[in-house]
Each structure stands twice: as structure tokens, then as C-alpha cells.
Symmetry: C2
Subunit: 327 residues, 2 copies
């Protein structure tokens, strides 16, 4: 054995981003109560989490306000109502929102940094949207925000496409480039290759790589650890893994793994008991068999989500036959 | 990126062992119906699985027959009743049982290989039991069985202790030495060290390393993949991860990952739907929060199992406080 046991020390520059509200909102149209959002916020503060992503800065034209809750749009009045008293320095927590290329009125929706409680904007995009993403990053940076480039569905594009995206993103002011395994398809060897590639591209002072994993194959936590081992310094997680389909890397596993004493697990236990478990009465997420299958097939979880909403929801054979036939 | 994509090819010598009945029986005293055991058997055959572990060869003195089902003892008449027609060559499946050091009447319970449907005996032991384990392996080998050495709870002993165990096991006729993460504590860097150490120790024709992972931290599948990447050639899994506490590496994930076309996932889907899901009405297993916590603490899941059986079963904060206080 090596004479080194890295699992009992920590890397101070590693930061944790909670995206419970943002990613979890994809299963309930972001119709969370203010009380729930506030409970997640307070948990993040108490648990020593570094960033909390409170929702999307997306267009009410595409996501009408009568169908979608405030955390799909993150208008400043909603942010003020729930986070009006927020103070980055006092809490050690930065607030963040995500803007999707193609789904965001970013030219008008994003106010200057000094007029918002947000300090970070993460730009999510598919490879063919990289040009808009670069404009969005430049705009958000000019407005005073820290920015992040989140290339989605990286498991579904070619290496040349990835390289082309990186070539466009590298000159941008994005501080972070995130490995996003939207379909929960990737496993260790693939994470390794992407991580090395992204870290090489983002070499330089003040720049870093992040990881955002989905749990279709029960690999979200493992892939997050793997990226951390290889040097990724920003890890996404959600409380109880709350998120679309199979969900995300569970915060309770991630904090239980990290050795930085600033992270506290007990507040997360409290949130799970008091606020997350009750959600399971009306919402479903986690690495259920249909999500295992879409993950293995490198597909969007859409088909599995529809299947779980159907009368045949537990007929795994039927779903297996369906996705094999459609492949 | 590398010019190699190992995830689309396979290693023919990699074999899969189903231990659903053996490990799953730890949550119901092995009181499975013959019909259920037979359904798992038929699934193993149809799915191309290489070995099925049908139970323990443990002592009815310690595990009385009135409390424990037949798969805790694996007497030949019970095996004959359910597997009497079994044929290794025709099915491609080998049957296996586990004998625990300290809990098995191995000198009398194990009949010669040619009088049994079993062809493999796996000897499970804690480090201080290695001397009995070596005797057991020699005995089972002399009786005609393929043998395996399964050093349990490896995460709870020192490197010198591991080295001492290996020194004793290496001269034995055990074909396989298995990395057993009984507490679901290990993660990738630890699996790597153990795997390299075990593979080095077991170098030589016809010998191999196996992996038996528990899912406390949702790492059972990831750790199984990791050991496979590093050259472990026998992987344990159970249907839907059925097993004590957090359960095991789920077979449906493992087969969905392996690329050997002999493995078929559809029969597993059928078993999950028709036989495993109904078990959930009376049995609980899986990576629930209390098991996350015992895994993180490198503890036996006992405390979490007791907690899940108590009235406070969902009070994660109470359980967290309890195990922190006891640590």
C-alpha cells in the first residue's frame, strides 16, 4: 500500500454547491413553498456549504408564471422576499442561479450584481449553443457576477465537439467549467478522461473544474468523488439527491465524505427528516430501475419519467422492451 | 483523450456471482420459499450469470432450524429438492455456498463434491480466524470443491493484519481471494490499494481476485467497477441489491455495465418485477440514511438495522446523535 491516506485530510479550495431547489424544481415546476426554500437555505448556512443555487433565470415566456413557481425565473422581488437579509460574508454562502441558453431572457432578466442577492450565474448549454453561452457568460461577467460554463449532456457528443466547446469557453471569463453528466451515463474511466481534459483546458490562476453528476446508475456520488480526486474543486449535490429522474449526488453522502471540519452533517439530517422526507408523498426521485436503464442507454430520462407516471410504472420488462425497441 | 474506449469491449475471464439468496437471507433468516429460490436460479441461468451462491453451510446449533430457513444450512436434501436437476455444463452456472469460520460444522456438514450439486465453497472469515479459514479451505479443496477466501470487514483492520492474512491464504488452494467491504465504508482510492495488494498476492495461473461490495454509501456498484477495471475477475452482485442493511451491488446495474453479450438483462427485469418487488412489503434494504451513516463511520450496520426497526426509524437526527456519541 501507499504510505499516504488521502481520505483523512482535505483540500481547502474544494467548494460545495447545493442545487436542491434548482435541480429539484425540475420535478415540480419549481412550485416549492418559500418555507421549504428558506429551510434549504438555512441548512446550507449551518452545514458550511459554499454556494446555493436557488433556481433558474429562465424566461416566463417559455415557462409561464401560472404554471411554474418563482424559482424557475428568479426575479429579484422573489429573491428579496426569501433571501432579503442574506449576507455572503456573514454566512459564508454565495447564492447562485442558472440561466439556460435558449430558454432565458438573459439580456433583460439579469440585473447588475450590486442590485441582486445573487453573486454567481451558471450558464447551462448544449454544445450547439456554445456561441450564445459565450455571450451570456460575457454579459453576466460584465454585470459583475462570477460565472460558470455548464456544458450539458457531454456523454452524448463527440470528442471533437467537446474540444470545440472548450476552445470557445477557455477565452471567456467563466471561472468554472463543469462536467455535467445529464443522463447519468458516465462511469469512472469516462469521468477521468473528461476531468483531465477540462482541467488542462482550464489551467491558470483562479479557474477551476466542477462536477455535476446524476444518479441513474447509482454513480453520482462515486463520480463526484472521482472528479474530486483528480482535482475538480467544485462539487454539486442536492439534499437527499433531490432532482429530476434519478436525482443527483446526495449532499448527505458528499458531506459525510469530505474531511474539511467546516462541513456539518447534522443540519442536513434535520432537513431530510423535517422537509425532504415529507416531499416523497407527492414527488418521486432516485435511482429506480427505469432510470438505471435510461442511464445505461445514454438517454435523457424523459421516457422513464413518463413510464413512472403511467399505469405500468412497475412493469420493468415492458419498459426494457420499449427502450430496446426505440434504441 | 486516450485513443482507447474500454467501455465498449469486455474481458471474457470476468465472471459474475449472484449471492441474492445467501446475502439477502441475512434479513429474513433465510426463510425464502423454494419458489423464490428457484426463480432466482432460473434468472441466473437465463441471464448468463456464472455462479449462484445459494446460502450458508452454517451450523444448526448456532442457527436453529426452527428459526432459520434451509438456506442458512444448505443441507443436501434441501439442495436436491430445489436444484436436483441442476447441471453445471448444461446451464453454464456453478452453484456455491458460503461457510463462515466459527459458525460452521464444516468437518461434518460438507459432503464430497461428487455427492453435491454445489461446486464452489466460499470461506468467510474475520482476520483473527484466518487459521481456521486455511483449514476449511484445505478441507473443502480436498473434498473436491473450488474454494474462495473471503476476508470480511477488511476496512476495520490494519495493513499489517491484512498482510498477515494474505501470507496465510496465498499457500492455500483458494482459487479466489475476495475484497469484502462488509461495512460499505471503502471508496475508490481504498479499493485501489486493496485490489493491487490482493492481485499481487494472488499472482499465478488460475488464481484471481473478487469483489464483494456493500451499498451503504451508494458505492457498491462503483467499487465493483473499480475492482474490475484494476483486474478483479469475479464480481458479486444481488438482484435489486437485496442484502443486509444497505444491500449489495445491484445485479441489474452490473449486467447493464458489462459488455459480454452472454449476459442478458431482461430476465433480471422479470425477476425484479415478479419476485423482488413483492418482497419489499415485508423486507427493507437499500442505502437509506442510517446505513449511509454507519458506512461513513466504518461500523457494522447493526445499529442502523435496530434503529430502522424502532419507532423512531425516520428520525435521522436522533440516529446521527446516537452514533456520534457512541463513536
Amino acid at each position: 500500500m501507499s504510505d499516504h491516506a488521502p481520505w483523512i485530510t482535505y483540500r481547502p479550495e474544494l467548494t460545495v454547491l447545493d442545487c436542491t431547489i434548482r435541480d429539484g424544481g425540475l420535478i415540480n415546476n419549481h412550485l416549492f413553498t418559500d418555507q421549504f426554500v428558506r429551510a434549504v437555505y438555512e441548512t446550507c448556512v449551518e452545514a458550511g456549504i459554499d454556494m446555493m443555487e436557488v433556481g433558474y433565470k429562465n424566461s416566463p415566456g417559455i415557462f409561464p408564471k401560472k404554471e411554474y413557481g418563482p424559482w424557475r425565473h428568479c426575479y429579484e422581488d422573489d429573491l428579496q422576499r426569501v433571501f432579503g437579509d442574506h449576507d455572503d460574508a456573514a454566512t459564508g454562502l454565495a447564492l447562485c442561479a442558472m440561466a439556460d441558453a435558449g430558454k432565458s431572457d438573459w439580456k433583460t432578466q439579469i440585473v447588475p450584481r450590486d442590485q441582486s442577492v445573487l453573486s454567481i450565474i451558471r450558464v447551462a448549454f448544449y454544445a450547439p449553443q456554445v456561441s450564445e453561452a459565450v455571450e451570456m457568460i460575457a454579459h453576466c461577467h460584465a454585470m459583475g457576477y462570477e460565472t460558470s460554463a455548464n456544458l450539458m449532456a457531454v456523454s452524448a457528443i463527440t470528442e471533437k465537439e467537446i474540444d470545440t466547446v472548450l476552445k470557445e469557453i477557455v477565452p471567456s471569463p467563466a471561472k468554472t467549467l463543469v462536467i455535467v453528466d445529464s443522463f447519468g451515463y458516465l462511469y469512472r474511466e469516462q469521468i477521468d478522461m473528461l476531468c483531465r481534459k477540462y482541467i488542462k483546458a482550464m489551467a491558470g490562476a483562479g479557474r477551476q473544474v466542477g462536477i455535476h453528476a446524476h444518479n441513474n446508475r447509482q454513480l453520482a456520488f462515486a463520480n463526484t468523488i472521482e472528479a474530486i480526486i483528480l482535482g475538480a474543486n467544485r462539487a454539486d449535490a442536492t439534499m437527499a439527491g433531490l432532482g429530476r429522474g434519478a436525482g443527483n449526488c446526495p449532499m448527505e453522502l458528499l458531506l459525510g465524505f469530505l474531511r474539511n471540519p467546516k462541513f456539518k452533517l447534522r443540519p442536513v439530517m434535520q432537513l431530510l427528516r423535517d422537509h425532504i422526507d415529507p416531499l416523497r408523498e407527492s414527488l418521486e426521485w432516485g435511482p429506480l430501475v427505469p432510470y438505471n436503464l435510461t442511464g445505461q442507454m445514454n438517454c435523457h430520462p424523459r421516457a422513464a419519467m413518463q413510464f413512472r407516471a403511467s399505469d405500468d410504472r412497475d412493469d420493468y420488462v415492458k419498459f426494457y422492451d420499449q427502450i430496446i425497441a426505440e434504441a
